[in-house]
C-alpha cells in the first residue's frame, strides 16, 4: 500500500529529498546479503510504497512539495534531476514568492486558507495515482512559519478529506538554542493542533542528531545536509520492507498501519521517538562487526536510560524490580530516572536476523502496568541488509523520551506568554490568546499523562 509524502517548508523539502534518496539507494544497493529473488521482492515492495512508474522507467517519488519560497524547492528538484536515478513528479510542487516570516499564525490563517485548494488538488492527484493508499507522511519543522503553521493547517484538511487514511507527521524538533525567537510559540501551537488531527508524530530532535553527527560520525563541519542524511537513514531503517510475520518471507503490505496499530492506538499518547544502532559513518563500517546480542543490549539500555546516542549510555539506570513499589511518579527534574515505555517496536535488518533474541525487551518492568508486554512490544525483521550495514537495529518507541523536551518548550513558551511578548504578531492574523491557552492546556495534559504512566 502506498504512502504519499507531503514535504512542507524548507526543512520538510530538504529532508524529504534525503529520505527518498536513501530509500532509493538502499533498494538498489547491491550488497543486500540476500538472494536475488528476495532482493527483487524487497525492491518491488519499496517501490510500490514510495515511488511510481513512468513510461521511460525512471521512478517518480510519491510526493507533493510545498513551500512559500521558491528557493529550496528549486534546489531540491534540481538535485533529484541531476542524480537522475529518481525524480519528483513534474507538477507536484506548489510554491509562492513570499515566505511566512517564521510566523505560525501567518502560515495557518493566511497561507492555509488562501492556498488550500491548490495544495489539496495536488495531493488529490498524487492520491489518484495510488492503487491503494495507506496514508500520508507530512514532513515539517515545528519552529518556522511555513512548515509549522501551514503544516498544521494541511494536516487538518487531510483529516477532513481523507479521514480513513492514516497520517503521520515527521516533526523536526528545533535546536534548544535555536535562531527563531518565537520558535516555542510556533512549537506549542503546532503540537496542540496536530494532536487533534494527526494519528502519530515521529519526532526528530535537531540537538540529538547533531550530536550523533559530531560524536559518532566525526564530521567536523556539520551541515544540514549531514543532519538530514542521518535522519533519512533512521527513517529508512524503519520504513523499508520487513517480513509480515514470524516465519513468513513475504513483505508486509502496510507498515504504516501496523506501526500505528502497535504504538499509538491511545489518543493521548501519540509521540514517538526513534533510536537506531549502530550509529557510525559508512566509511567505518568495513572495520566493524557486530553481534545481535551486543546491539540489542545497547539498544535496550538506550531505551531505559533515555540515551540519545550509542555512546555515553548510563548503565546505572535499571528497571524497577517487580514487587517493590514503583519508582515514584517521574519528576521532570530528576537526572537519573527510568524511562517507562508504553509500547515499543524493534526493527532488525541483516544477517542472521532470525536468531536475534529480543526477550529482554519483553520484560514487564519496562512497560506500564496497564499493558502486557505481549501487547506492548513487537518486532519486525528482514534478512535483507539496509544500506550496506551488515546488521542494524531501529527502535520506535512510545515512551517518556520526549517528556522533558516538551516540558521545556511549554515552560519557555509560557514564560514568554506571561509577559505577552510578541503576541501581537499572532493576534494580527487571527490567533487569539485563547488559542494559546487551549494549546497550553492540551500540552500540559499530554505531559501529565506521560508522567503518570
Amino acid at each position: 500500500m502506498s504512502i504519499v509524502t507531503v514535504q512542507l517548508g524548507q526543512c520538510g523539502n530538504q529532508i524529504g529529498f534525503e529520505v527518498f534518496d536513501s530509500l532509493f539507494s538502499d533498494s538498489h544497493c547491491s550488497q543486500g546479503l540476500c538472494s536475488k529473488r528476495e532482493n527483487e521482492a524487497y525492491q518491488a515492495s519499496c517501490k510500490e510504497r514510495f515511488f511510481r512508474e513512468e513510461k521511460n522507467g525512471i521512478p517518480i517519488a510519491r510526493a507533493v512539495l510545498v513551500d512559500m519560497e521558491p528557493k529550496v524547492i528549486n534546489q531540491t528538484l534540481s538535485k533529484a534531476a541531476q542524480a537522475s536515478r529518481w525524480k519528483y513528479g513534474q507538477h507536484a510542487c506548489f510554491c509562492q514568492k513570499q515566505g511566512s516570516g517564521n510566523n505560525w499564525a501567518y502560515g495557518y490563517s493566511m497561507h492555509g486558507p488562501r492556498h488550500e485548494e491548490s495544495i489539496m488538488n495536488l495531493i488529490q492527484k498524487e492520491v489518484e495515482k495510488c492503487d491503494s493508499l495507506s496514508g500520508f507522511f507530512v514532513i515539517m519543522s515545528m519552529a518556522g512559519g511555513t512548515g509549522s503553521g501551514l503544516g498544521a493547517f494541511i494536516t487538518q484538511k487531510l483529516q477532513d478529506q481523507y479521514s480513513n487514511s492514516l497520517k503521520m507527521n515527521q516533526i523536526i524538533w528545533p535546536y534548544g538554542t535555536g535562531e527563531v525567537i518565537v520558535q516555542n510559540y510556533n512549537s506549542i501551537l503546532t503540537l496542540s493542533h496536530l494532536y487533534r488531527s494527526s494519528d502519530a508524530f515521529l519526532i526528530h530532535e535537531n540537538d540529538v542528531v547533531h550530536k550523533i553527527c559530531a560524536k559518532r560520525m566525526n564530521i567536523k563541519q556539520i551541515s544540514f545536509s549531514n543532519i538530514n542524511q542521518v535522519l533519512a537513514h533512521q527513517l529508512g531503517s524503519v520504513f523499508q520492507p520487513t517480513y509480515s510475520s514470524e516465519g513468513s518471507f513475504h513483505y508486509r503490505r502496510n507498515p504504516l498501519g501496523d506501526l500505528m496499530e502497535h504504538l499509538v492506538p491511545h489518543p493521548e499518547f501519540k509521540m514517538l521517538g526513534v533510536r537506531n544502532i549502530p550509529q557510525m559513518s559508512e566509511n567505518s563500517l568495513a572495520y566493524s562487526t557486530f553481534t545481535w546480542a551486543g546491539l540489542l543490549k545497547h539498544l535496550r539500555q538506550m531505551l531505559i536510560s533515555n540515551a540519545k546516542m550509542e555512546e555515553g549510555i548510563n548503565w546505572q539506570v535499571r528497571p524497577p524490580l517487580s514487587g517493590l513499589p514503583p519508582l515514584g511518579k517521574m519528576s521532570v527534574n530528576k537526572e537519573l530516572h527510568f524511562n517507562t515505555s508504553i509500547a515499543n517496536l524493534v526493527i532488525l535488518r541483516g544477517k542472521d536476523v532470525l536468531s536475534a533474541d529480543v526477550e529482554a525487551f519483553k520484560d514487564p518492568a519496562l512497560y506500564t502496568s496497564w499493558l502486557e508486554p505481549v501487547d506492548a512490544f513487537s518486532v519486525w525483521k528482514t534478512q535483507r541488509a539496509f544500506n550496506k550495514y551488515e546488521k542494524c537495529a531501529a527502535l520506535v518507541s512510545n515512551s517518556q523520551f520526549l517528556v522533558k523536551p516538551l516540558d521545556m518548550i511549554v515552560g519557555k513558551a509560557w514564560n514568554m506568554f506571561a509577559s505577552k511578548a510578541y503576541i501581537h504578531q499572532y493576534t494580527k492574523f487571527g490567533i487569539e490568546e485563547e488559542d494559546f491557552l487551549d494549546s497550553f492546556t492540551l500540552l500540559e495534559q499530554v505531559v501529565a499523562s506521560y508522567c503518570n504512566v
Binding site: M1, L133, N254, H266, P267, T368, S369, W370
Partner: protein, 413 residues
C-alpha cells in the same frame, strides 16, 4: 392400513435420501432410522449436521475447528435463541432422537433448505458485499469473562486498535474497488452475454488458468445435484412428515413441564386456511391487549396533566411537545420504510460496469444503492446520537449524586 404402510415404506427411504442429498454433508437414511430409535451411533453425525446448519456463516473457518463439545454448545444456544420449545437437549453426545426432532423442527419452521443453498451458492460474478439488516439479531456469541477491573487506559488502547483495523479494512475495500474497476475496464467487450459486457474476476481467472475452471465446473455440478434434490424433496416431503409424527410418538412421555408449554412444533400436515385463522386470532388478541395498555396509560397521563395550569406557558410547552413527538414519529416511520425498501440490498447482486445512459435491464443502479445506504447511515447516526445523549444524561445524573465531583466534558473536536 397395511396397504398404506406398504406404499409408505418404499417412498420413505427415497424421501429421506432426497433430503440428505439436498443438505450439505447430509447423513444417510440409515442414520435417520437409527435416530428414531435413539441409537447413540447416530448422534455425532446429527450434532455435526446441526452445527453446519446453525453456525454463523462468516466464522465458518474458525468455528469448524472447535471441539465437538463446544460445537454442541453452539448448537444448543442457537436453538434456544430461535425459540426451540422442547426442553434442553440431552448431554453431548447422546440423544439422537432429540437431534432428529430438532432438525425437523428447523426444516418445518423456515425455508431452511433455501437458506442453506443460498449460503453455498457458486458465484460467477463479482458480488456486492452483503449488507446486514438494520438491527438484525446476530449469531449466538460466546461470552468472555474479564478477570477483574481493567484500567481505563487499556480499554482506550483496545478501542484505538479496533479503530485502526477498521480504517485498514476500509482502505483495503477501496483498493479492491479500484482493482475491480480496472479488471472490468480492461475486459470490456469480452463477455458473450450482451447485458454484462465484461468479465468478472472469477471469469478472468478461468481464462488465465484452465485448472480453476475444472474446479468451478465441479462446484457447479455439485450445486446442481443439491438443487435437483431440493426440488424432488418438495414433492415427496409429505411422507417424511408422516414418519416424523411416528418419531414424536415414540418419545417417552415427559413430565408435566412439557405438556404445559404451548406445542409450537408445527408439523405441517396440511397447508391452508387453518393457519391463517390462527394468525388472525392472535393478531386480534394482540391488538386488544395494546388498546387496553394504551387506554390505561392515556388515563394515567390525563390524570397527571389535569393538575397543571392552562397558562400561555403551557400552550407553548404543549406545542413543543407535539412537534417533537411528530418528529420522532416521522423518524420512526422513515426508518421503517427504509428497512423495508432496503430489503433489495440483501439479495446477492452482481457488479456490472456499464456505459452511462445505457438501458439497464433489471437490478439496482449504483446511485440508488448509494442513496439507500446514505439513508441508512443517517438513520444509524441519529440512533447513535440519541444513545450518546442518553448516556450523557445518565452520567450527569450519576455525577450529581456525588457531592464532591466536578463534571468536565471533553471538548468536542
Amino acid at each position: 392400513m397395511g396397504r398404506r404402510r406398504c406404499r409408505a415404506t418404499g417412498a420413505l427411504p427415497q424421501a429421506i435420501a432426497t433430503l440428505s442429498r439436498s443438505l450439505p454433508a447430509g447423513p444417510s437414511p440409515e442414520i435417520f432410522r437409527r435416530a428414531k430409535f435413539d441409537r447413540p451411533e447416530a448422534a455425532p453425525v446429527l450434532w455435526q449436521l446441526l452445527f453446519r446448519v446453525l453456525a454463523p456463516p462468516a466464522a465458518d473457518s474458525t468455528w469448524s475447528s472447535l471441539a465437538p463439545e463446544a460445537q454442541a454448545q453452539v448448537v444448543k444456544s442457537a436453538l434456544h435463541s430461535l425459540g426451540y420449545p422442547r426442553p434442553v437437549l440431552a448431554q453431548f453426545p447422546e440423544g439422537s432422537r432429540e437431534l432428529l426432532l430438532a432438525l425437523s423442527w428447523l426444516l418445518a419452521r423456515g425455508p431452511l433448505l433455501e437458506q442453506l443453498l443460498d449460503k453455498t451458492r457458486v458465484q460467477l460474478g463479482d458480488q456486492l458485499p452483503q449488507f446486514e439488516a438494520l438491527g438484525s439479531l446476530g449469531p449466538p456469541v460466546l461470552h468472555v469473562e474479564t478477570e477483574g477491573p481493567m484500567d481505563l487506559r487499556r480499554v482506550q488502547w483496545l478501542m484505538g486498535k479496533l479503530r485502526f483495523r477498521w480504517r485498514h479494512l476500509i482502505s483495503s475495500q477501496q483498493e479492491q474497488c479500484t482493482l475491480l474497476g480496472k479488471i472490468h475496464l480492461y475486459t470490456s467487450g469480452c463477455h458473450s452475454h450482451q447485458n454484462l459486457g465484461h468479465l468478472s474476476v472469477t471469469e478472468t481467472e478461468m481464462l488465465r488458468d484452465p485448472e480453476s475452471s475444472q474446479q468451478l465446473l465441479q462446484a457447479l455440478e455439485c450445486e446442481n445435484t443439491r438443487l435437483e434434490a431440493a426440488l424432488e424433496w418438495r414433492c415427496c416431503e409429505l411422507v417424511f412428515w408422516q414418519w416424523m409424527d411416528t418419531v414424536l410418538d415414540a418419545c417417552p412421555v415427559e413430565g408435566p413441564s412439557v405438556a404445559s408449554q404451548p406445542t409450537v412444533l408445527p408439523m405441517i400436515s396440511e397447508h391452508g386456511l387453518g393457519e391463517l385463522e390462527l394468525i388472525e386470532q392472535e393478531l386480534q388478541a394482540l391488538q386488544e391487549e395494546l388498546q387496553e395498555v394504551a387506554e390505561s396509560r392515556r388515563a394515567a397521563w390525563e390524570a397527571q396533566v389535569r393538575g397543571l395550569g392552562r397558562g400561555p406557558e403551557w400552550g407553548t410547552t404543549r406545542k413543543a411537545l407535539q412537534e417533537s413527538v411528530e418528529r420522532e414519529l416521522a423518524a420512526l416511520q422513515g426508518s421503517w420504510e427504509q428497512s423495508s425498501r432496503s430489503d433489495q440490498l440483501h439479495r446477492p447482486h452482481r457488479l456490472v460496469r456499464s456505459k452511462e445512459g445505457a438501458p439497464g435491464p433489471q437490478g439496482l443502479r449504483a446511485a440508488e444503492v448509494i442513496r439507500m445506504l446514505s439513508a441508512q447511515e443517517a438513520c444509524l447516526k441519529r440512533m447513535l446520537h440519541q444513545l450518546q445523549s442518553q448516556c450523557q444524561q445518565e452520567l450527569a445524573r450519576l455525577s450529581g449524586t456525588l457531592p464532591d465531583l466536578i463534571w468536565i466534558l471533553a471538548p468536542r473536536h
